[in-house]
């Protein structure tokens, strides 16, 4: 790809969530809607004040984002052959078939049959995400629900709460995020020999080249009147790109058993609070304030810094901790992002690179088992829900009216299969990640046994020079309560959808 010829991104066509977390808009909720009157729904959508990704001063006091499921697009009258040209995961839906559920670990307590929403008969058509400054959400909600009355039926409203950047288990949230190559300077061709936090724009927005230098599949329409407003596809200029500046959103409601989490840590620490905190940090792979368990501070990783705090928190890889002595291989942040590159070790020269590519070089056991990170990044935009519960209080037994708490998990990406599903399947739920055995993600794991592996509830903490510490009785801390795959269109595509005729 020639970066000179690449068109620059039209931020006014991108929904803001791709670029911003809207952290200053501390109030938020996600409406899950079903279309009850398609004509009125389209009419409301045409006028909906959806926030774009243009940077504004002062920053806006509220924001609305809209994304559709495949059934939602059909309900709004988008032609079936157009919908079918979106990715197979999106068209099939998160809970669409048991094989997908099995891959995602949505079995046992996590099975869609037990979900509050998103399972059979309860798949939303769209989500409207509302964000507002403190005190502003109620008015925004009242306005929206009044406006769309008759157009939609409210399937659910997912609340969020602002815990000051800390997730429910008590750890700083959202510390590491990929840096999007908004200026389209990245050339991902060839082997990437070092970990980079900069990721090709096409990994997060449709219509641009991804980390393979290719355009991800999406609906390309004939140049008809209905599609006239859509941007021409960069790779197929004769076609109109419905995906351009749009992306997919994965939304999952995850209940967190905060009491179970801290009580487990306390039980295995002989009641020593400091040890319990250390154990919990090993599950996560960071301390509660976000500091990595391996030494940070590396300044040479592209896309990290220049802020000292970012370098301190994210300037690290696991290269110097191959056995997981400092940060267990199974720790949540290490599973979610192994921070590796395309080859196991940066080769010194072309010959060494060739030898490494052929798998002929010196090899240590357990090396080169995980996939290259750059093809599997997530841009997370989730928010907590329910009241916070400090670790100390979590040690107390739950009162009868204990509030529910958890995460409204949101991630944005252009390829659900290669990003969210791969991460969920091969890295988080896998009991065999990176040579481990009998353990899934310490936070997210469903602990379901699989043939030949009766124990899936383990966790191992290697120790320098002696036997690793091993647990084999982790309870399930996180339960999936609902979920769906959405397409978050660019604003021109949104107008196409809103103008779609039945």
């Amino acid at each position: 790809m020639n970066p000179v010829a690449a068109r620059s991104v039209d931020f006014s066509d991108v929904q803001g969530l791709v670029r911003f977390g809207y952290v200053h808009l501390t109030e938020g909720c996600y409406y899950l809607l079903r279309v009850s009157d398609a004509a009125r729904a389209r009419s409301w959508l045409r006028g909906a004040p959806v926030a774009d990704a243009v940077e504004r001063k002062p920053s806006p006091s509220e924001a609305m984002q809209i994304a559709f499921t495949a059934t939602g697009l059909l309900a709004l009258g988008v032609p079936p052959d157009v919908v079918a040209a979106f990715s197979a995961e999106f068209v099939g839906g998160m809970s669409g078939d048991e094989s997908r559920s099995r891959r995602l670990g949505d079995v046992g307590a996590n099975a869609p049959a037990n979900w509050r929403w998103g399972g059979a008969g309860a798949v939303p058509h769209l989500t409207v995400m509302l964000f507002a400054q403190p005190g502003g959400l109620a008015a925004l909600e009242a306005r929206c629900t009044a406006e769309w009355a008759g157009a939609f039926e409210i399937l659910g409203r997912l609340d969020t709460s602002n815990l000051g950047g800390v997730e429910q288990f008590g750890f700083t949230d959202g510390v590491s995020q990929p840096a999007l190559d908004w200026n389209r300077q990245r050339d991902p061709a060839g082997d990437q020999l070092g970990y980079s936090n900069v990721v090709a724009l096409g990994e997060f927005l449709l219509g641009y080249p991804n980390e393979y230098g290719k355009y991800t599949e999406r609906p390309l329409l004939d140049d008809t009147a209905a599609a006239a407003e859509l941007a021409p596809a960069e790779d197929v200029p004769a076609k109109r790109d419905l995906g351009c500046n749009g992306t997919y959103v994965v939304l999952r409601q995850l209940r967190q058993d905060v009491r179970g989490f801290w009580q487990f840590a306390a039980r295995h620490s002989g009641g020593d609070a400091t040890q319990a905190v250390t154990l919990a940090a090993n599950f996560v792979g960071r301390t509660q304030d976000g500091a990595p368990l391996v030494a940070g501070g590396a300044t040479t990783i592209p896309g990290i810094g220049p802020k000292p705090a970012d370098i301190a928190l994210n300037g690290f890889t696991f290269d110097d901790d191959p056995d997981g002595v400092r940060c267990p291989k199974g720790a949540h942040v290490r599973r979610s992002n192994p921070r590796n590159a395309d080859l196991p070790r940066p080769p010194a020269n072309v010959l060494a690179q060739l030898i490494a590519t052929l798998g002929l070089g010196p090899h240590r056991f357990g090396e080169d088992l995980t996939s290259s990170t750059r093809f599997h990044r997530l841009l997370r935009r989730g928010r907590e829900y329910g009241p916070g519960l400090p670790a100390v209080d979590a040690l107390q037994p739950a009162p009868p009216d204990d509030a529910e708490r958890g995460l409204q998990f949101v991630c944005v990406g252009a390829n659900i299969g290669r990003q969210f599903e791969f991460l969920q399947n091969a890295w988080l739920m896998s009991t065999k990640f990176d040579g481990l055995s009998g353990e899934s993600d310490p936070l997210m794991g469903n602990r379901q046994p699989i043939p030949g592996c009766p124990v899936a509830a383990g966790f191992s903490m290697p120790r320098e020079g002696t036997v690793q510490r091993r647990f084999d009785d982790l309870p399930q801390f996180v339960t999936v309560l609902g979920g769906a795959y959405f397409f978050m269109p660019g604003l021109r595509a949104l107008r196409y959808i809103a103008g779609a005729s039945v």
């Binding site: 197979a88 052929l358 996939s371 030949g452 290697p462």
Partner: protein, 424 residues
Amino acid sequence: MILARLDASRMAECRRTLASMNGLPGTANPRNALLPFAQFERLHFARLLVIDDQTLDDVTLYGLPRREEPVYLALLGDVDGDVPTFLRDLAQRAESGLRTIFSYCAGFSAAEDLLGWMSAHEVSARTNYTNWVGRTVGNVREEAALADAILEYLQRTPSLAQSPARDVHTAVRAFVAEELRAGRLTLTPPAPTPLSWWLRNVVNLIGVPLLLLLFAIPLAIVALAALVRIRSLERTDPELCPRVGAERVALLSVLEDHDVMNPFSAIGSLKPGIVRLATAAFVLWLVDYTTRHIYNRGRLARVHTIHFARWVLLDQGRRLLFCSNYDGSLDSYMDDFINKVAFGLNLVFSNGIGYPATQWLVAGGAKDEQKFKNFLRRHQLPTDVWYNANPGLTAVDLERNGRIRDGLQAELDESGARAWVALL
């Protein structure tokens, strides 16, 4: 591999019979009545599948008429030791079930001599890959039991929890020695390599490079000419990698991910012309050399997840069948293909019709991620019955267990003991 034409009119019936052997979709009940795989202690993996190629129309891309290739029934097994003995064993101990299974094959009569018929229908692979040559099913099981016993011993011996690695090693050695004495563990010494196998291997080891050297000059000329020809073909060869329909994907994926590993089976037609066939055959021959002598210790190039794989040319070289047993789900398998060994995949499969465009046989191809994934799914066949003697154990698990065992053979120095203890 036993391969026989299926009586096409009885395909559905055959598939129903095959499905009756399963406990989970696509996964054999190891003690099923027709072919109780678990009885065969030399068998690592086995599969039965109907080879019903959905891509026979692909040749029309080259202006050739569609050719009605046979629908086959295939029985594949990965076994320790020699195949004739295994087949004899199979025919003896599962005769009636095998007769039922093969009764769907054209020309198989009740009066057939089963062993003779199977031997006559045996097809050998152009290329075989074995993750760890010489590791038997017995080794796998004994070493897994060893690793489990050691873990359990460590769990109930908290005094060792903080001990220096050498002390741990000494204590575990003593524990294992006692378990062996008491007969609670067994570690069968490796069987001597059969002389004939060893001889064949040495002849191959020396013979192939010798042959290449001997004909280096004519070979180089032919290879160069072929490469130039292929480069020109690459510019015009059509791609055929549309997304596979949801129904077909559902039919395939319902069979997957019931264990930590999966079978993969796929078939496709080679591009027409002698150059492509010769290239495929030559590359497969070379790959077979590397899997015999180089990639026989835990990884195929950089891929650690394949237990066994084979490439078989069918129908006078018109079609290629690929079958493997791999760890993880199909998406991570394809990820390895694309990001770790795209060049290798390209060398072989770019000779197949519709493969994403390559340059000089190695570049491009699988690197076109979505097209490649579509291509693979499109050519994938449902593996009707799959048997895995050791569910739940990845190739890395097997290597780790083997290393644990090896480390018990002798005293270790400090660094050796540390590395060994890190395996536990």
